[in-house]
Assembly symmetry: C2
């Protein structure tokens, strides 16, 4: 049996151990929800103060050029490109993940005009499904085929325009085999569009090696860009010239400051910009990305798997017989950087955990979800989190929450 | 002839004079570009520090509920509703102006399914024209009729689905008669969609009194929300239930945290949200809107017209015979809060002005544009700006810039 001293030893040997100091983490909290909102990097507050007080306050309109604001969508994206196996000019930061998915789903259908079906997974993240529904309604003749993960390859056929999947499932944490699914899609003549929200910064992603066509992703989870920060989108260079944007805003124009009456798309990915770039979010994300300097993502993955394995083992050892059922793949290689357990009283248990400073989250109907951001979560945190979970169960600390909820329903 | 002492006297009598202290303005600068990027309200840096260090850093994921982040799109919009003659539940903050225009143009075409034409002004702000082009391409059979301002009413016919206009023209500053044009559109069976980017916070806007159907607007000009901050959209209550969103992201779902597989629109304007709300921009805008507490927008308008009139008069008196041609309406009532002059060397003159601390902007082909944000621009600033313009012309300070530009072109 492993004990806390073993976990501390693992922390001392952890090659990423120094990275934790790059974050401001609240005292008395074990934060296992960095897969939903990443923690605050220490570099961000000062950089944001300079943005607000100097660049905006003193520089005013001049800062669009003099502080380089206008170039931030491309510049910030270039910083994260290495994390996803992209060239710097294959990624750009813009809008939200949902809006970017809309742009690229429409683009994919336009790149395959003789085909009409969007193939995706039934259990995909809901906004991905909803956006696809919106595109189906908008583009006459479009079909949306939502199938179980095991049936995806079978679902690909001559009418498939695009296979769109979230790389790591938000509930179970299961990782799709990007290379195999991309090959299958290409074999059927379809494009692939990957949502990297739950994988970028958590595990190695190599869009180029997988031959992926399109991707989107989120800046505020493992990239720690802050609440509602801008998302990014990826288009393989071979497709960039053929993309006809659907959100034809001025920032995607070839010469926005000519104020010409007719739309003419910019070269490269700039054409996928739409409105004025969200500078607050871009600068926060840029500062947050400094954390990744010198980080070997293979080491991040190694630690992520080890943390998840440790968590599964400790929950199963120490809470045996208490109705926790693993809802994630047991094999670390098939799992992203999160572990989910089902429990009939999952909601109440998570409330009790949060009240005691262990922050994970709950996903309907009965899933307790724990994320392990390897840059700031330690092995001892995993130990302590399970210890607190044990206390919560021993004290039946979640009873009160169950009763409150039942009272509210009746 | 008016002199500087007269201007100082006007400032002392200005009922808005105390508002200037609510802004941080750089020393040595006369800022006449608040119509492009508003100045920094003093309340913003502290509020942003609290957002970043406490709400994000300490509260982490909990702040979506505990700090009310999730409610900010509606709450911040409710603060600006009085400035545009809207009820609090008729406005919501989201995305960019361009993205919001896309949402509402599609919505308008869906509300008038038997009609296919978007009518707009040739000289509309380019992103408005570009987005309309994108919608035309996307929705088969859609026509885009771009006409001169004088021909708008004539252009409305039985195929017109929506008349979309920017309330104040970005080049000339001319104000459209919102009530008259809305009545004409309604007479032809069409809806109206107003872009308020250059009017909100600059002059009284009364969407309800005008009977307007839809509107969008920008948070970072006269509302001082900061670079690339979120925009807003308005839908008159009578239309809200019938709006079928096109960007069907999870934040517009009736129950986003049920993570249901099928899209079901939320009630009211929430359905027009798409992705995760941009919290940095929303909080900055919220703090910036404090400036408007107790401000009578009629007084803002009065001062705005007076500043513009003074600027026109001083330029024409003091720079007579130097090729400045007024490009804005002479009558203050027909003008927004900006004044434009044409000059063959407009670009170079504006560069020289900026180098001497008078910040306006240049719009192709030959327009020098000066904005007067009445909350922080004084009569003495107008005097001083024209004095500096006089020095620039007397010194031919712009010559160097002309030569640099000519050298660069050849």
């Amino acid at each position: 049996m492993i004990n806390r001293a073993d976990c501390e030893r693992l922390d001392r040997r952890d090659p990423l151990r120094r990275k934790r100091a790059a974050f401001r983490l609240p005292k008395g909290v074990i934060y296992l929800d960095g897969n939903s909102l990443g923690a605050l990097p220490r570099a961000v507050p000062g950089r944001m103060r300079a943005l607000i007080e100097q660049e905006w306050g003193e520089g005013l309109i001049r800062s669009w050029n003099e502080a380089g604001w206008i170039a931030k969508p491309a510049a910030v994206a270039a910083r994260l490109a290495p994390l996803i196996g992209a060239a710097p000019d294959e990624v750009i930061c813009a809008d939200s993940t949902s809006v970017n998915l809309f742009k690229l789903l429409v683009a994919a259908l336009r790149l395959r005009p003789a085909r009409h079906t969007i193939v995706t997974e039934l259990g995909n993240f809901p906004t991905d499904l909803y956006i696809a529904e919106g595109v189906r309604e908008l583009m006459p003749g479009t079909h949306l085929n939502r199938v179980e993960a095991s049936g995806l390859i079978r679902a690909l056929d001559g009418d498939s325009a695009v296979l769109t999947l979230t790389h790591v499932n938000f509930r179970s944490g299961r990782v799709h085999d990007m290379a195999a699914l991309t090959a299958a899609a290409h074999g059927a003549g379809a494009l692939t569009l990957w949502d990297l929200s739950h994988s970028v910064g958590a595990l190695p992603v190599d869009l180029a090696a997988a031959g992926a066509d399109l991707a989107i992703g989120c800046g505020y989870k493992y990239l720690n860009g802050g609440p509602g920060g801008p998302a990014f989108l990826y288009v393989a260079r071979r497709h960039q010239g053929a993309i006809r944007p659907v959100l034809t805003g001025w920032m995607g124009h070839a010469q926005p400051f000519d104020f010409a009456p007719d739309y003419r798309p910019a070269g490269g990915l700039t054409r996928l910009l739409c409105g004025t770039p969200p500078i607050f979010g871009l600068i926060a994300l840029e500062a947050a990305l400094d954390v990744w300097d010198g980080v070997d993502i293979a080491l991040v993955r190694q630690k992520s798997v080890a943390l998840g394995d440790l968590f599964v083992r400790l929950v199963e050892e120490r809470l045996a017989g208490q109705d926790f059922v693993l809802a994630s793949p047991r094999a670390g290689a098939e799992r992203g950087s999160q572990v989910s357990f089902r429990h009939p009283e999952g909601y109440a248990i998570m409330q009790a955990l949060i009240a005691r400073g262990v922050i994970g989250d709950f996903r309907t109907p009965d899933i307790l979800r724990f994320g392990f951001a390897p840059l700031y979560v330690r092995y001892q945190d995993v130990w302590d989190a399970v210890a607190v979970l044990g206390e919560v169960m021993a004290d039946r600390a979640w009873d009160a929450a169950v009763h409150r909820r039942r009272a509210a329903v009746t």
